[in-house]
């Protein structure tokens, strides 16, 4: 069960990384960054897994809980990822306004000429 989640996390990581390395559209790169970070969140959640554990909300009769700390860490990591994604998108918008394209290599070529 846990291993399956790890495999899924690893695959999502590979997908995100592949997108980051090969895509030229900046919005896709932003999405890839986000996907890559989600894979770590998935791994965090999978690490927290305890066989037979329930959600960490204490109520009567429950004694087995999954590990709550990674959940809290995952929440924080998600929010931080959202902040970074927002800035990446803002930069994409700014560059689109200047250059009229979201192709990262084209933008790079233009700044090289500008220097």
């Amino acid at each position: 069960m846990q291993n399956a989640a790890f495999v899924a996390a690893a695959l999502v990581f590979a997908i995100g990384l592949h997108g980051m390395l090969t895509r030229r559209n900046m919005i896709r790169i932003c999405i890839s960054i986000s996907v890559m970070e989600s894979s770590l969140v998935m791994a965090l959640v999978a690490v927290a897994y305890v066989p037979g554990g329930s959600a960490p909300i204490v109520s009567d009769g429950q004694t087995m809980f999954v590990d709550p700390l990674p959940h809290a860490l995952a929440l924080t990591a998600i929010v931080i990822g959202a902040g970074i994604l927002a800035i990446a998108l803002a930069l994409t918008v700014a560059m689109y306004r200047h250059y009229g394209t979201t192709d990262v290599l084209a933008v790079f070529g233009k700044t090289r000429e500008g220097q």
């Binding site: 990581f13 990384l17 690490v47 809980f65 931080i80 902040g83 700014a94």
Partner: protein
């Protein structure tokens, strides 16, 4: 040729890395499960209700045990909005009145109050049920975004002006710090909860958990205001050069 080879090579590279990722992670978890001694999760789940007054252990960790992290991440959102504002400049709503169809608008206007209710519930019950400030705040931001999408930017700006959002965000951010300082004023430490003498209430009821509900509310407001202003910055066009 190269265009075909590069993605494949990158794919192989990524898969290799992913395999390493998996192996290492499994090795780490096996090492951890082989370790004896007290487990941190038992520490949390057995004592968090008494120590924080919050039934939801995740919220207890976020808003009490590791509230300092939460201050940091709230600051990240704050900073992200500030950076987006700095990069994109003052937004101006689009001239065109692009809105959704009439039916959707009518439906939305009757459902919107309910939409408002849900995030508020999530925020208020953050310490006794799944949810909390972040989740509620994000839902609240969706509400604002929905107004913009459904009724057009000018209308949305009229209903929820950017200035108001920004003020709410700054106010909530300062409020977070102020609640933290309250702990110091009370003679305990920064962001202290029950240790600073705040009443814990009955665990499981709405008014319990010391400052946790307050923090939830502040974080919820901050995230809601931050994310919706981010949307406005991203969707609005830059005031054109001639205006400056």
């Amino acid at each position: 040729m190269i265009r075909r080879v590069v993605p494949v090579a990158a794919g192989v590279f990524c898969l290799l890395l992913a395999a390493g990722f998996f192996l290492v992670l499994r090795g780490a978890v096996e090492t951890g499960s082989g370790r004896d001694g007290p487990l941190l999760r038992d520490l949390f789940t057995t004592s968090s209700v008494d120590e924080t007054g919050s039934v939801n252990v995740v919220t207890a960790i976020l808003m009490d045990y590791r509230a300092f992290d939460t201050l940091g991440e709230a600051t990240v959102i704050f900073t992200a909005v500030a950076v987006a504002a700095a990069i994109l400049g003052k937004p101006r709503p689009t001239e065109s009145q692009r809105t959704m169809g009439l039916l959707s608008r009518r439906l939305l206007s009757s459902v919107l109050p309910l939409f408002l209710l849900f995030p508020l519930f999530v925020i208020a019950h953050g310490h006794i049920s799944p949810g909390g400030g972040f989740q509620g705040g994000v839902s609240l931001a969706v509400l604002v975004i929905l107004i913009h999408v459904a009724f057009g930017d000018p209308f949305g700006q009229n209903v929820v002006p950017l200035r108001l959002l920004v003020m709410v965000e700054y106010g909530a951010a300062l409020g977070l710090v102020a609640v933290g300082m309250l702990g110091i004023v009370q003679g305990a430490s920064f962001l202290a909860n029950l240790a600073a003498g705040f009443p814990s209430g009955t665990p499981g009821s709405l008014l319990s958990g010391g400052v946790i509900p307050v923090l939830n509310l502040l974080v919820g407001l901050k995230v809601a205001a931050g994310l919706s202003s981010l949307y406005i910055y991203l969707s609005g066009h830059e005031a054109s050069r001639g205006d400056r």
